[in-house]
Symmetry: C2
Subunit: 163 residues, 2 copies
């Protein structure tokens, strides 16, 4: 997908054929989809040499972002936006790689507590410099105030979903 111009061209044709089509939200949805794909792919390329993929990276960073350092699988699924069935597979992979560890919860024996191992922390320290470079590069065409404005508008857009 070279640029976004052809997408807009197609939406223009769509609106000619079906005048009720909400063009602006339609553009936004296709932009989000397009951007998401690029972000996902770029992250995967960067992370591959580190031995993990984007979903695994997300799980590690969710754990890294907790104050307690632990989460249950269902909390992790919720945080990362993964379906619970998927969490089993992903956490299995991360366990096999030695990056996270499972242990039974003391206060609720239904739960399992997931936490980063020392190797997990080391892995994060290993890829975070690259990730920081990537994130900074991805946002470089926006000024700080534009980033703030974009964040605000995305949150507002988000508030119109799923309720």
């Amino acid at each position: 997908m070279a640029d976004f111009a052809s997408t807009e061209q197609r939406l223009a044709v769509t609106c000619r054929r079906y005048p009720d089509f909400p063009r602006r939200p339609g553009v936004l949805v296709r932009l989000i989809k397009h951007i998401h794909k690029l972000l996902h792919d770029e992250a995967n390329v960067l992370l591959k040499p580190h031995g993990i993929n984007h979903p695994e990276y997300n799980l590690l960073m969710m754990l890294y972002g907790t104050t307690s350092g632990t989460m249950s699988p269902s909390e992790l699924a919720d945080a990362a936006g993964e379906k619970s069935a998927n969490i089993t597979r992903l956490t299995n992979e991360l366990c096999e790689k030695g990056l996270i560890a499972r242990s039974g919860s003391a206060d609720d024996r239904r739960k399992v507590e997931l936490s980063l191992t020392p190797q997990g922390h080391a892995a994060i320290d290993g890829f975070l410099p690259d990730i920081c470079t990537l994130l900074a590069r991805q946002g470089r065409h926006l000024t700080t105030s534009e980033q703030i404005q974009l964040e605000k508008l995305l949150k507002k857009f988000l508030s119109g979903l799923a309720d």
Copy 2:
């Protein structure tokens, strides 16, 4: 993922632990991911009664948006952001459902031309009212000028990717 507050909390912890982490681009990336997932899921729920899923919907709408009414598989892959290997399967499904048709290209015999069948057009006429309602609802928390502004910022953000 109930709201976005817990995500911001995690990013705050991350920045405390790793001060170089680019918080604003990080927020944007997670917002995009979150929004994309919701959009994808909502579209799938809406489309299921119509017998298709979101990727198939996208392909149909790409064809609907051309003036000629035809695209080659590779053009379609590019337009929809799907990998070429995936297009074979998806177009096969749509052919089996009778919604699109294949035919050899006259001017370049390497190519195959894909086009909507009358049933394909009928299917589009069937789900477009629902889609329009959904799109309008999804964008309802943004004023027109906010939608324009968001579109502009997303395009600018997009311009920082993949080059």
